[in-house]
Amino acid sequence: MAVENSRSLGLTSQEDVVIVRQAVRTAAVEIGLTLVDQTKIVTAASELARNTVVHGGGGTARLEIVRDTTKRGLRLTFEDRGPGIADLDLAMRDGYTTGGGLGLGLGGAKRLSTEFEIESKPGMGTRVTITRWKV
């Protein structure tokens, strides 16, 4: 998979979450995602960006336009050096929350993406990568 274009945005405040949402929208339009797919990846990005700020204590969002042999896609990576997640299976489950939210963030973001990857180590931080391909 080749990366055509990459940019990184800082995520430390609620306002940064809005900026990331808007940047993801612009990139999604640029690669020609349908309106529904744009909405899905922007919504997933919103959930993950909020997690980075609220649970990760801040971090970064990387937006990459990627290409494989036949198609283009948008890959987003959210990374923090926060407390990490001890039990990933539990954290992915709908309704499980430690932050007083609805507990839909991670599971919901996974359902809204074509590819989803999460790595986390307690004390080391969390990295979530999602990709939505243009079909």
Binding site: L35, V36, T39, T43, G101, L104, G107, L112
Partner: protein, 130 residues
């Protein structure tokens, strides 16, 4: 912009969300609306989200909270104008917004609020606010 304006129309409160809200702004709206329901003795709240191009779990929770608080304060809430792509995404996200009444547009939402006021209160004239 640090506040979303709330308009009063007779016995109803109208809110049109026209900005990409950060979380604090959403919480402020929730608090402001709850206070105004009491201070203006409103019987209904209409929230127009037609300008919102996403509703994530935070905004979804805000809408659900507003509807619950309004109900406890004897006011109905109707959310109107959701874009189709937002509705599709919400369901996939896992949010079905239980307990929230919706309508396609402002006109239908107002009809719903007026109708619910009349059916609950056959002597609605006595409750008119002046």
């Amino acid at each position: 912009m640090d506040r979303i304006p709330i308009l009063r129309l007779g016995r109803f409160l109208l809110v049109t969300i026209q900005v990409d809200m950060h979380d604090r702004l959403a919480l402020t709206l929730q608090d402001d609306l709850t206070e105004q329901i009491v201070s203006s003795r409103a019987r209904g709240v209409l929230i127009d989200i037609s300008a919102l191009d996403i509703v994530d779990s935070f905004i979804g929770r805000m809408l659900a909270n507003i509807a619950s608080m309004a109900r406890i304060l004897d006011a109905e809430t109707v959310v109107v104008g959701m874009q189709p792509s937002v509705a599709i995404t919400l369901v996939e996200l896992g949010l079905s917004l239980p307990g929230i009444r919706t309508a396609l547009n402002v006109d239908r939402g107002m009809d719903l609020l007026r109708a619910s006021g009349e059916s609950e209160d056959p002597t609605s004239g006595s409750r008119e606010l002046t």
